[in-house]
């Protein structure tokens, strides 16, 4: 069986679902970052697959941009995370409620 566009899109959807579930359920900030990465990369898979399907490089270009932005986001995020951990000795989301409404 040849692997076609649909397979890639199904994979992307499954990964997106996993990421979404992680975003919703994880209480550990680090795990939340991982879930976000899964979300972003599932979209990247979708972009790359459709780009290949249409023979249009724009989608792949977009995937690169997403990777670059995700990398910088993780860099900043991890930095903040480390500072937070040093101060509070915990990275549990439920305890990050200094700005509660």
């Amino acid at each position: 069986m040849e692997i076609g566009l649909n397979h890639y899109l199904v994979l992307a959807t499954i990964l997106f679902g996993i990421g979404l579930y992680g975003v919703m359920r994880r209480k550990n900030l680090l795990m939340l970052f991982f879930a976000t990465e899964i979300l972003l990369n599932s979209v990247n898979i979708g972009f790359a697959a459709i780009s290949h399907y249409y023979g249009d490089l724009t989608g792949q270009m977009f995937a690169f941009f997403v990777i670059a932005i995700a990398a910088s986001e993780v860099a900043v995020g991890l930095g903040l995370l480390i500072v937070w951990y040093k101060r509070h000795n915990s990275i549990d989301l439920d305890e990050m409620s200094l700005m509660r409404g």
Binding site: L20, V23, K27, L93, D94, M96, S97, R100, G101
Partner: protein, 641 residues
């Protein structure tokens, strides 16, 4: 001449605004003086205008500015000084000047001296607008303005509950009548397309009788309220709660005659509908005798004079209704003089007796209050219509009118009322000034009023005596404006019999009143004498039970109805709806505030929910767009589109 018109009109306004500056301050004598001078200025200007018109000058018509101009509606602030309005201006400004000067003395010890003058001058301004306006809209402004000032002045002593009650009663009764008046004005505008007197009247003859009749009836309902005609008369007697100068100015000389003025002003309309005129005349005659009968037994000095005013207004309407507009206007003028004089005299008596109003508790005051006695006696003679005082000429003209027009029932009623008038007037004079000095029982030490108050009253005294002499001049003045005709009885003998008969009747009543009430052994009635036990006395003393009837059958049911509406409709439906909306919002807020708990995890979950919802909407829209044709087909199959 326009200059004088503006001075006459706006001097009272300036006066009122000036006095209004000091309303919150304790008594300032100069406020009384300045306002009196300004009103006097207005009087002088009116006199100049009167002389100008008397010399045959053209009526002055000015347009101060445009008030409303939209589409076909054009109403300017226009003022006119013609033969009719100049007479009214004279009456208003003259009596106002006298009353202003008099009030300086009368309100001497009152805390709200300044406020009194602010209201009084505001009243004069409103009255001037009413009589000088050249269109119905301006007349209506003045009409409402005098109503407002009357409210403020009846309820001047607002810490007395009876005064505020009377003020509200007067205001509300007038509102009822004003609704009629407004409908009349709408009918005029609807049918003629204008509210200017001359333009509207020019178009009236082309309208059908039914329209004219309704217009006339509704306008007259307005006049009934302001002039306190039956059945809207109860407010006038209660309005006596106000200070006495107010009663003299507003509830005797000027405001209450506004209704008569309206009928006179709209005479081209009432000329076209004589059946309504006959109704007006009949009602006038009825009110004349009805009010006079109540005055016969009343024991409140001011109320007696108020009923007398009511009765005389009935005379005026009787004349106006029969088409004798100039006679009505003449009686209005003469009545203003002697009735204001009578009221001011009553004010002197009240001051002397420390606000005692029951004439049975007075007696023998002529020794201490000689001048007041003379003035009130002459005013009463004028009111009774004794030759050669003012009332004789005007009342005689009304009686002649009724006779010549062959309305013998109206004539008889009015003639009989003339006798009643003589009786109650001199009952009052006899009780106050003659007989035993009964006030000594109450430890009162009466004193005559200030000299300048008496001097201020003297112009009215002079006019009450000589006004009748101007009858011919007056006739010539308004002859053209009101299509006046002399009512002559052809047979010389009949005239003499009528005049002498009337005079004899009136004088007999006066003597009878003196005989009955000037005796030494008058007792203060205590409700035990056979007369007081009789049905008629009780009926008259309780004002035919009409106030009782209104209270029981209109005020109370209305109050109960209001209570039902308040408790059932307002609280349970209207308020409940409004509260319900607020509660829904509040409870929604309370229920959903959990979303905003500041927890990142919760927020992310809600973000996902939002995302899913937006996606679903996008998908739904996409499907709808794609299958729009089929959906349209389906819906048209169902008959929806």
């Amino acid at each position: 001449m326009e200059k004088y018109l503006y001075i006459a009109l706006f001097a009272p306004l300036v006066s009122s605004l000036f006095a209004a500056l000091f309303t919150a301050q304790p008594k300032k004598q100069f406020v009384g003086i300045v306002t009196s001078l300004l009103i006097f200025t207005s009087f002088v200007s009116s006199s100049i205008l009167l002389v100008y018109i008397l010399k045959g000058g053209e009526p002055i018509h000015v347009e101060l500015m445009t008030w409303m101009a939209t589409g076909g509606l054009y109403i300017p602030f226009g003022f006119v000084v013609d033969e009719v309005s100049v007479v009214m201006m004279m009456v208003v400004t003259l009596v106002s000047t006298v009353v202003h000067v008099y009030s300086n003395g009368y309100m001497d010890h009152d805390k709200s001296f300044n406020r009194f003058f602010a209201w009084l001058s505001a009243f004069v301004f409103s009255m001037m607008v009413l009589v000088m306006s050249d269109n119905f809209a301006g007349l209506f402004i003045g009409w409402e303005g005098v109503g407002l000032c009357s409210w403020g002045l009846i309820g001047f002593w607002y810490n007395r509950e009876s005064a505020t009650w009377a003020a509200n009663e007067a205001f509300i009764m007038n509102r009822i009548a004003d609704l009629g008046m407004l409908i009349g004005l709408f009918l005029i505008y609807w049918n003629t397309g204008t509210l200017q007197y001359d333009e509207a009247f020019a178009k009236l003859p082309y309208l059908d009788t039914a329209t004219l009749t309704w217009t006339g009836i509704f306008l007259f309902i307005g006049a009934m309220g302001k002039s306190a005609q039956f059945p809207l008369h109860t407010w006038l007697a209660d309005a006596m709660e106000g200070p006495t100068p107010v009663s003299a100015l507003i509830h005797a000389a000027t405001m209450v005659t506004a209704g008569v003025y309206l009928v006179i002003r709209a005479h081209p309309l009432f000329d076209l509908i004589p059946h309504v005129g006959l109704f007006i005349a009949s009602l006038g005659a009825f009110v004349a005798i009805f009010a006079a009968s109540m005055a016969l037994v009343n024991r409140d000095m001011k109320r007696i004079i108020a009923y007398s005013t009511l009765s005389q207004l009935g005379y005026m309407f009787a004349a106006a209704g029969l088409g004798a507009y100039w006679v009505a206007l003449f009686h209005l003028m003469a009545h203003a003089f002697f009735k204001a004089l009578l009221f001011l005299g009553a004010g002197n008596v009240m001051h002397a007796m420390h606000d005692e109003l029951d004439p049975f508790k007075m007696g023998g005051l002529k020794k201490t209050m000689k001048w007041t006695w003379i003035m009130m006696t002459i005013a009463s003679f004028a009111l009774a219509g004794v030759f050669p005082l003012a009332g004789f000429y005007s009342k005689d003209a009304i009686l002649e009118t009724a006779f010549v027009e062959h309305h013998f029932i109206i004539y008889t009623v009015l003639l009989f009322t003339a006798g009643l008038t003589a009786f109650y007037s001199f009952r009052l004079v006899a009780l106050i000034f003659h007989g035993e000095e009964r006030y000594k029982l109450f430890g009162i030490h009466p004193h005559e009023a200030y000299k300048y108050m008496l001097v201020a009253m003297s112009p009215l005294l002079v006019l009450a005596i000589i006004a009748g002499a101007f009858q011919h001049t007056f006739f010539e003045l308004v002859e053209e404006a009101l299509h006046a005709v002399h009512y002559h009885i052809h047979s010389e003998v009949v005239v003499w019999i009528m005049t002498i008969g009337t005079q004899a009747f009136v004088i007999a009543m006066i003597i009878y009143a003196y005989k009955k009430y000037a005796r030494k052994d008058i007792k203060i009635p205590d409700g035990t004498s056979p007369v007081e036990q009789s049905f008629i006395y009780k009926l008259l003393f309780n004002q035919y039970y009409i106030p009782y009837f209104y209270e029981e059958y209109i005020v109370k049911p209305y109050q109960e109805l209001s209570e039902i509406f308040w408790k059932k409709v307002d609280l349970k439906i209207v308020d409940a709806t409004v509260d319900g909306i607020a509660k829904v919002l509040y409870s929604t807020g309370a229920a959903t505030r959990g979303m905003q708990n500041g927890n990142l995890s919760t927020m992310l979950r809600w973000m996902v929910v939002g995302l899913v919802l937006l996606l679903l909407i996008a998908v739904a829209i996409g499907i709808t767009v794609r299958y729009s044709e089929r959906i349209t087909l389906f819906l048209s199959g169902l008959g929806v589109l």
